[in-house]
């Protein structure tokens, strides 16, 4: 099993989720993160003062998948999250030793 971490542009979240649902992936854990990279933040007016906000809001997805689905999931995220402009984001693949579904105690690919 692998844990796929995808850092993407926030407006792409729904599209990526739908594309994953299309290939039978439903379980995803999402959090809002701040991205630092080649794409730079900008000045923002906040409470009347100009802020140089040097981070860009991104969304991080975590998806535990069985080994045989990894390539498909990565391809799906890549194709959907891509705009071709700087800041599209990254996909990281981490080894996952074990997974447990808390509700049932199921382990392994049954759990995800």
């Amino acid at each position: 099993m692998k844990l796929i971490e995808a850092i993407i542009k926030p407006f792409k979240l729904d599209e990526v989720k739908d594309a994953l649902n299309e290939i039978g992936i439903e379980g995803i854990t999402v959090c809002e993160v701040k991205g630092f990279g080649r794409q730079k933040g900008h000045t923002e007016l906040y409470r009347g003062a100009e802020y140089v906000v040097d981070f860009i809001p991104k969304v991080k997805l975590e998806i535990a998948v069985a080994d045989e689905l990894v390539a498909k999931v990565v391809e799906t995220i890549e194709n959907t999250a891509k705009t071709g402009r700087i800041g599209d984001g990254k996909i990281f693949i981490l080894p996952l030793d074990e997974a447990v579904r808390i509700r049932t105690g199921e382990k392994g690919t049954e759990a995800i």
Partner: protein, 295 residues
């Protein structure tokens, strides 16, 4: 000699002008540029990097790293160039290409003066720095080939990048020495014979950072236009990697048409420090060249 100096300056100033003109429309398509500007023909600033009008980017700044190193050593100094790249990276430049960043980091942390071959290294990041190298090696094709590739390999190791650097140098040499556009065209034909993928007879408007797209865009517009302004404007309005295609077109057109053809209004709006340093270093590098010592 006056013409040679004017064209040498044209090459380096042209690089900076093309960079500053194209940078505000980098990553836009030709249609988007047309919708927003009609025809972009002024140094307007803005764009994804939120530039000031006349501000240059990594294309010019990395060329400065090379020019200053050669001027300081009064000769070739690969390590000096690498040190300048590293110092530049630490200043948090307005933009740094992915390949260049990786390679400069590897120099900083591992002292590597040549990046290993990589299939992804066929970008234009080494080619865009060729102005100072061309001036320094004016008059000696073997020296040009040697310097072009060793400076390229600081960041990019790919045959397409190597070939582009060498031939850009050759074109700048021919242009500065007053050769005709037909002669330059024959040189490009030699490049295409050697590496057919650079062929641009059926130019399809691809202007990305892939060195082949970049070179095709520059050649297409250089050989279809009849003046410095016309060439650089046409090139950047193609969009894509517009600051780099603009910089390379500016270098080539500047070398061919000379300083007199660079529009006043652009010179006035270009960052004054950049104008001063490109003008001054162009002459210093020319004085170091084999051609000059032979005069």
């Amino acid at each position: 000699i006056h013409d040679i100096l004017s064209r040498s300056r044209g090459a380096f100033v042209g690089l900076a002008i093309g960079d500053a003109l194209g940078a505000p429309v980098e990553f836009m398509t030709s249609h988007e540029i047309r919708a927003k500007y009609g025809v972009l023909r002024d140094l307007v600033g803005g764009g994804w990097l939120r530039l000031k009008p006349g501000q240059v980017t990594d294309d010019t700044e990395m060329a400065f790293c090379i020019a200053r190193a050669l001027d300081a050593r009064q000769g070739w100094d690969l390590k000096g160039i690498a040190d300048n790249f590293a110092a530049w990276l630490r200043t948090k430049p307005v933009d740094v290409g992915d390949t260049c960043r990786r390679s400069i980091r590897n120099y900083m942390l591992k002292g590597m003066l040549e990046t290993p071959f990589n299939q992804w290294d066929a970008g234009n990041g080494a080619a865009m720095r060729m102005a100072p190298v061309s001036l320094f090696t004016l008059g000696d094709d073997d020296l040009l080939s040697d310097c072009a590739v060793t400076q390229a390999r600081l960041t990019h190791n790919h045959p397409l990048s190597d070939t582009a650097c060498i031939y850009l140098g050759r074109l700048v040499h021919l242009a500065i020495q007053g050769r005709s556009k037909n002669r330059l065209r024959r040189e490009v034909d030699r490049l295409v014979a050697e590496q057919p993928t650079f062929g641009f007879d059926t130019y399809r408007g691809l202007a990305s950072g892939y060195v082949v797209d970049t070179m095709q865009t520059v050649f297409h517009h250089f050989f279809r236009t009849a003046g410095f302004e016309e060439c650089v404007v046409a090139t950047v309005n193609q969009g894509g990697d517009a600051d780099t295609t603009g910089a390379i077109a500016g270098m080539l057109a500047g070398a061919y048409y000379g300083m007199e053809q660079v529009p006043r209004r652009w010179l006035k709006r270009l960052d004054p420090k950049v104008l001063d340093e490109t003008t001054r270093l162009a002459e210093r590098l020319l004085h170091l060249s084999p051609l000059f010592s032979g005069l």
